[in-house]
Symmetry: C2
Subunit: 315 residues, 2 copies
Amino acid sequence: MAAALALAARTRGRTAPNPNVGCVIVSDGRVVGRGWTQPGGRPHAEAMALAEAGAAARGATAYVTLEPCAHRSPRGPACADLLVAAGVARVVAALTDPDPRTDGAGLARLAAAGIAVSTGTLAPAARESIAGFLTRRTLGRPQVTLKLATSLDGCIALADGESRWITGAEARAHAHLERARHEAILVGRGTREIDRPRLDVRLPGLENRAPQRVILSSRLVDAPGCTVIASPADIATLPGDHLLVEGGAGAASAFLAADLVDRLLIYRAPILIGGGRAALGDIGLASLADAHGRWRLDDARALGSDRLETYVRQR
Amino acid sequence: MAAALALAARTRGRTAPNPNVGCVIVSDGRVVGRGWTQPGGRPHAEAMALAEAGAAARGATAYVTLEPCAHRSPRGPACADLLVAAGVARVVAALTDPDPRTDGAGLARLAAAGIAVSTGTLAPAARESIAGFLTRRTLGRPQVTLKLATSLDGCIALADGESRWITGAEARAHAHLERARHEAILVGRGTREIDRPRLDVRLPGLENRAPQRVILSSRLVDAPGCTVIASPADIATLPGDHLLVEGGAGAASAFLAADLVDRLLIYRAPILIGGGRAALGDIGLASLADAHGRWRLDDARALGSDRLETYVRQR
């Protein structure tokens, strides 16, 4: 299942309105097929893995990060039907599919065909892997990730505005990879006008993966090729299931004040600035007690001499 | 040697003017003696370990975090002589003793008696373990540790001053343990007058280990029982080899601006404050390039839901 989750991560940010799913087919202890939801949402992971496995799928076990779909569509057959036809012996799913067209019907169809089925394996990680899809379904908006790049004392720039560079090359490359995993990327009007960020993906082979650029501005801005929204509350209209908020402090604070941040990426350089520009302005916090219990550390890693911590909002 | 270093840490902050040293004596693969510099500086680690080992020290290996001393004093014999008399076969030292009364003479005396000697094992960790002693010897002042307790966005309080509590019980207990490892603890005048910190050690069994309280103030203050210094440059006069700077932002910034911080303890809670009080004010940084290359991460650990990172100044 962990391998299937790694495959699912490959197209995070490119499968909307479908979830990014991974599938691994194992026969006699050997992987015979691997698949993941393709860009645009089709083919599904199971179809791709079954195509690779061919006849080897007969009697095999399929590990999928989400329940196989039970609904045919003009864009492809139901994965549950494909698995039955291929003769797999067992299907291990991390989650049931909340889509009302499936919602247990996929697993039921498999079980009716005599296939052993189970759910729940690595379910928390699987939920995190399709958090964008689930957020869109449950809250009607994309999952929002806020990126901060700070010094140890929480500054994003010197007092005079100098901010290049706080983090090193490895951290900045990772931040570009994160851009490629989001359909849309947002900055505030001030950051756009002062820093003129290109907001593209400057990584070899991923140059064409630049997300839709979005500007947060309460007044009209001349921004060709960009989408402009007046308030964080307007993100429901944005394309895709993943929005990356890159700054500056005003935009970050507006999203936090609206409690519209689901995931926090903090890139921290081992430097002290002192008296610099704060990462955040007022986020409407009335007391320290209200600040606690909201964020859970999900991952911490070194990137060169910097560190990246990922926090997830507890709801 | 790692075990000897753990023993050496027991009396960090209580052995000045002597270094805090650890010693483990091993015979036939078994630990037969353990010692560490006692409070006040005597007995030395080797004397304590040899006393525990007794006749078992004959033919054994002694691991010491610092070269055994070669000089007799009214307070005790030379450890090199004790090791020779005990008949140890081998002495493994992490470092040579920079004290001019020893400085290689201890190892030479051991070697002359037919004992196998070596140095360099875990030398970087050993230097860190007696950094206070070495700082006093080389720079004529105590080692300075700056403690910060911040939110993820680098705030030490809400805008209205509320700061209790940012970190949780585990982190606060650890901070009290750090107090017990310092001979002196400093706060700025403002912090003293507003927060009225007790600056004691509120841990069971360590209540009597409160460090000397020091106030940083450029004007006269009425502070019974406290030492007052007018500038960070005055720390040479303070007792002991370890000074803990606990705040507030003004005192922290003054020490950083003077480049008088050797070690940084950052306790971070998984909360965002936004628009709160910054951990630091101006520290005299002219450009980002000057900020880089100064701090190396030495340790990172979880304390409840908080995290502690220890950085060491690269000089």
